[in-house]
């Protein structure tokens, strides 16, 4: 595309008072802009009309808006997709954070404009990836409460849905559930649950196709082009689907491991699940002798919140046990009922159920159960600590002890796909995803056949930052496979996952990225002639987007891609680029920075700022009127994981004194929008620091820092500290070469 550049410099919002627009016009001239205008109110209707006129009459097709942050006014500076747009942030990151009228302030603005012009010149309008045989169908795996709800909701929203259930009958866990906890005022009474109603609704929904007694034998392809093999009664059916909801649920924790709670020593020590089945069957009696249950004790957190068993809270067992205690109290208010607990976690309106059970006279004992023993007559006594009296207590004899065992997600079952052996002495590698061969989806993905687990085998993706996401594009876990939850949350999560799936098929079929770069039409392209089959891109892609052929050539799947550029950062041959984001482009932006010689005593610091958190934090520092170091030159990157090490070399050979990477928090509570990007960057930086040391270049010149969006007030100090450190090292010896 022949570029005809129009540069529009705004002097409003204090920019004009801070920087001389004429001086900036000169920079535009150096870069042979066809049109360059300064305007006191660039986002006004008149000014926009003038830009539009330039596009139409002057043939301007590449537009630089040198004004406010690219994070704002996106609806105002919105041009047709065949035009290339570059936003230069003069307001938040120059005028509002630097002293007005200073020479250094102007130099910063000039560099910002230079870098913007280089980026503009090297950008091409993206061409969306669209295949002919895209499918918008939604596959739901697992026909329990969550899966049935997700299928029903997706179908009602107008999407053809396929539901696969491994058992002959739909229902999953709820098949054996007698009644449900309350969900309506006054939240004290249990409610009936009719599985047949839900099944009937589903079967009367024309958009739903149900496979029972079936399993997913394999899933190949990518969003909107998933090819699914469904095995049913020895036969195999094929379906092409757009997105997948994984609702395979959980199983109760294996009670036979609970020897400390005497499981196995008496038939009258049962699990909550056993008790539910008894009530469902209308046959509640002591397993030991078939006599009625005259008294009962519930032991909560049986195997949950226990480092020996499940370290996490299984979330639903408190309310389930309250519900089951209510079964007994409803049948006979005089029945002695005990609940031994660590904490009662009956959130929201369930508090009212808890209160009702207290009023019903259930004996609640907080503290650890220390023993469940035969009283000599075949009944059981429980000893426990009671924090409320500060002493151990002993129950009267009870007929039945019910252990509220926790939930184990079906994704946590199975052997690891790949065992990682730690290397002696080597720096800790970025942990590859924990993927178990759990036989749920059988993905034909190079990185493994199932969703990667985050913690405890739940295939989550940091719920607080990225609700309903997994680490495989187009696959959305819902219900207890995703996290421990109760019936009500199951319903909400089923709807959430169905909506995510719908969002996915709609975006992908229009050639757009899904969360977090929603709407992005660029995608990575591989210049295969120079590929050395090193496998870094296929190994490191946080989303398993790249498969491999038998010769280890990468096989990208653009619709699995989230456009983070981690592959681009990983590639030693620099063969991976986006139309509007590439190794060469950022390298040339670095090279266009004006680096004064060492006698000017104006060091230069390159800041590669993650556009998700660090860049907004820099903006917010400006918005808050904080001023920071004038030597910094900021380049936003899609993710620190996209930072290619050659940029460090580019910057150092240009004479830039220090390179600072600002990105998201990594580790267990990561905030990286691309999960592993900042962690990968961190690992790569430790490697480059070794190289720098070898070249007798101080490794302190390159530093990485984790910032959250809320850390904006720390930005001045973070930058000043780094500047001071770099200053103490003296000027970059390559300056002037």
């Amino acid at each position: 595309m022949e570029k005809k550049i129009g540069v529009y410099i705004c002097s409003g919002c204090g920019i004009g008072e801070s920087i001389d627009p004429e001086a900036l016009s000169a920079v535009a001239g150096e870069h042979s802009a066809a049109v360059c205008r300064t305007d006191p109110f660039l986002c006004g209707a008149e000014s926009l009309a003038r830009i539009k006129a330039d596009i139409e009459s002057e043939g301007v097709n590449s537009i630089v808006i040198a004004a406010c942050s690219p994070r704002v006014m996106t609806d105002v500076f919105d041009f047709p997709p065949d035009k290339v747009l570059e936003r230069v942030n003069l307001r938040e990151q120059v005028a509002w954070c630097q002293p007005a009228g200073e020479e250094d302030t102007l130099m910063m603005a000039e560099d910002a404009l230079r870098m913007g012009l280089v980026r503009l010149k090297e950008s091409q309008p993206p061409e969306p990836f669209i295949a002919e045989d895209f499918s918008k169908k939604i596959l739901v795996v697992g026909g329990g409460l969550t899966g049935m709800t997700a299928a029903l909701e997706a179908a009602r929203a107008g999407y053809e849905t396929i539901l696969v259930e491994k058992e002959e009958k739909l229902g999953g866990y709820v098949k054996d559930v007698y009644r449900l906890p309350p969900c309506d005022p006054p939240y004290e009474n249990l409610r009936d649950f009719n599985l047949e109603d839900l099944t009937a609704k589903l079967s009367s929904e024309p958009g739903v196709k149900v496979y029972t007694g079936a399993m997913v034998a394999s899933v190949s392809g990518a969003p909107c082009m998933f090819d699914v093999e469904i095995r049913q009664n020895g036969a195999t059916s094929s379906e092409r689907v757009g997105a997948i909801v994984l609702a395979t649920g959980s199983v109760p924790y294996d009670a036979s491991k609970l020897t400390s709670l005497s499981y196995g020593t008496s038939p009258d020590i049962i699990t909550a699940r056993d008790l539910e089945v008894m009530f469902k069957g209308g046959d509640v009696k002591r397993p030991s002798n078939g006599q009625p249950v005259g008294s009962v004790a519930f032991v909560l957190c049986a195997g949950s919140r226990d480092p020996e068993h499940l370290p996490y809270c299984s979330s639903a067992c408190c309310v389930e046990s309250l519900k089951q205690a209510r079964y007994f109290k409803e049948a006979n208010p005089e029945t002695p009922v005990y609940i031994f607990y660590k904490d009662i976690r009956s959130t929201g309106n369930y508090e009212l159920l808890y209160k009702q059970l207290q009023k019903d006279g259930v004996i609640f004992v907080r503290g650890g159960v220390t023993g469940i023993d035969d009283d000599g007559s075949g009944a059981l006594v429980i000893t426990s600590d009671d924090v409320l009296t500060g002493s151990p207590i002993m129950s009267e004899s009870v007929d039945l002890v019910v252990l509220a065992t926790g939930m184990v997600p079906t994704s946590a079952l199975g052997e690891p796909f790949k065992v990682q052996a730690p290397q002696e002495g080597a720096p800790a590698p970025v942990a590859s995803d924990a993927i178990l061969v759990s036989n749920l989806l059988n993905l034909k993905y190079r990185q493994g056949p199932e969703l990667p687990g985050l913690e405890y085998g739940f295939p989550d993706s940091h719920f607080i930052c990225f609700p309903y996401e997994s680490r495989r594009t187009g696959i959305y876990p819902a219900g207890t496979v995703r996290a421990p939850m109760d019936y009500q949350q199951d319903g909400t999560h089923a709807m959430g996952a169905a909506l995510k799936a719908i969002q996915c098929v709609e975006m992908v079929s229009a050639g757009k990225a899904v969360h977090p770069r929603a709407g992005d039409q660029s995608y990575p392209e591989f210049f295969m002639q120079r590929c050395t089959q090193c496998k870094r891109c296929t190994e490191e892609c946080p989303f398993g987007a790249i498969n491999e052929d038998e010769k280890a050539n990468p096989l990208p799947n653009p619709t699995r891609c989230r456009r983070c550029g981690v592959c681009m950062g990983a590639c030693p041959e620099r063969i991976i680029s986006f139309k509007n984001y590439s190794v060469g482009m950022i390298g040339n932006m670095i090279k266009t920075i004006n680096v004064p010689d060492e006698y000017d005593e104006k060091p230069r610091l390159l800041v590669l700022a993650c556009e998700n958190d660090a860049y907004p934090a820099l903006d917010m520092a400006g918005i808050s009127g904080l001023s920071y170091n004038p030597w910094v030159r900021i380049i936003p990157v899609r993710c620190l994981g996209s930072v290619n090490l050659v940029w460090i070399a580019d910057a150092l050979s240009k004479g830039i004194d220090g390179i600072f990477l600002l990105g998201c928090r990594h580790g267990n509570d990561y905030q990286c929008h691309f999960i592993k990007g900042s962690e990968l960057a961190n690992t790569r930086m430790t490697k480059i620091q070794e190289t720098l040391d070898r070249l007798a270049l101080e490794s302190d010149r390159v530093k990485m820092e984790q910032v959250a969006i809320t850390d904006f007030n720390l930005i001045p100090k973070i930058l000043d500290d780094f500047a001071e450190k770099v200053n103490s090292l003296g000027p970059n010896p390559y300056k002037g070469f």
Binding site: K359, I363, P392, I393
Partner: protein
């Protein structure tokens, strides 16, 4: 530590004795922190924890019968009024006491009190015939078929020489205001409020039955009480037993008389006066404004509100049978109350309950503050001013 045994039978017994809401308690402990015992040092303060006591009650675990714990509560109602679960804590205390006292094991200090009630119809070991001794020199009408109000004088004011002045001044004010009232006399029995609170349910039932029979036989429809405790018992305990009287505290009647101009305090007092809200008048019965109105009707009175006042009033420690307890100096709530009054610069601490007068007077004396602070019953100030 040996585990303590849960005893559901004991728990059920306590519930039957009246602790109907003990299960509602979620053990948050707000009660313990609001308890006036937290404001004083000493053994009782350290041992008495109302949250813990209810926890033991919830599980029927032994240990609550310890006298320092079980009989410490003065039933001031501070915890109960603020309980987030609406637990009737005083009923729970009463029921737990009843589970012990009902078994014939009242604490030694209470035995003579209960015995006197059985024998004389009053807890003060006063002969029944002396019940009307307070009337000497006054022409107090006998309650008859045409009398509107029955004036029920608290046993304390029938037998305690200091307290008799309270009955006398109230009667004088009613006479002055032209109220149609009368007393029945020596057949009257203690209302039994404190007996019930210390857990002697049987004694209370006996006293209440006798009173109801007597009052109804005399055609009583409306009652004026001198003490907020009798007021509360007639309005609540007796109502549960089927009584249908209109029951008023004397301050309510007098404030109406003042409003109607039938009583007009005229002598200037020129004193700074603080008013102490009795628990059973304030928190328990919701009467806060009537006594204050009366105080303000006395010309020249400068009313000094205490720091903790109305709903937050600090108990004198005389309720719940505590009027008979021996409490070491330095651990008496009344002392704090006297200091509250001294801190406001009051010269007089007025109240309208015979128990409060008794407790506060003792406290004032034990602190040696009698030269700077006078403890008076409200009715006495009114009589002075007529």
């Amino acid at each position: 530590m040996e585990p303590k045994n849960i005893l559901l039978e004991m728990k059920e017994y306590i519930v039957e004795m009246g602790a109907e809401t003990i299960n509602w308690c979620m053990q948050c402990g707000l009660c313990t922190n609001l308890c006036p015992w937290r404001l004083v040092p000493g053994q009782t303060s350290e041992e008495f924890n109302i949250r813990y006591m209810q926890r033991l009650g919830q599980m029927g675990i032994e240990g609550f019968e310890d006298e320092n714990m079980l009989f410490a509560c003065s039933t001031c109602g501070m915890c109960q009024n603020n309980c987030p679960r609406g637990v009737k804590i005083i009923d729970n205390v009463r029921a737990m006491r009843a589970s012990i006292v009902g078994g014939g094991m009242p604490p030694a200090g209470l035995r003579p009190i209960l015995g006197s009630c059985h024998a004389n119809g009053n807890p003060w070991s006063g002969p029944r015939e002396n019940r009307t001794k307070w009337q000497e020199g006054l022409d107090i009408p006998k309650f008859g078929p045409d009398t509107e109000y029955f004036l029920f004088v608290c046993c304390h004011s029938c037998y305690d020489p200091r307290s008799m002045k309270i009955a006398r001044s109230i009667a004088q004010l009613l006479l002055r205001g032209g109220v149609s009232f009368g007393v029945i006399g020596v057949e009257e029995n203690c209302c039994g409020e404190s007996m019930r609170k210390v857990g002697d349910e049987e004694l209370f039932q006996k006293l209440a039955a006798a009173n109801m029979e007597l009052f109804n036989a005399n055609g009583v429809k409306k009652i004026i009480t001198t003490s907020p405790h009798c007021l509360w018992s007639f309005k609540n305990d007796y109502a549960q037993l089927g009584a249908e009287w209109e029951v008023l505290h004397y301050t309510e009647v007098l404030s109406r008389l003042v409003a109607e101009g039938k009583i007009a305090p005229s002598t200037k007092s020129g004193k700074k006066v603080s008013f102490h809200d009795p628990c059973y008048l304030g928190r328990h019965s919701g009467i806060y404004d009537a006594p204050r109105g009366l105080l303000e009707s006395i010309p020249g009175t400068e009313v000094k509100e205490l720091g903790r006042t109305r709903e937050l009033s600090l108990c004198c420690a005389g309720g719940g049978g505590r009027i008979w307890a021996e409490v070491p100096m330095g651990e008496r709530f009344g002392e704090l109350r006297v200091l509250d009054a001294v801190a406001t610069g009051a010269e007089v601490l007025a109240t309208s309950c015979p128990y409060c007068v008794n407790m506060l007077t003792d406290a004032c004396t034990s602190l040696g503050k009698q030269d700077v602070l006078e403890i008076r019953e409200l009715s006495e100030l009114l009589v002075d001013s007529l």
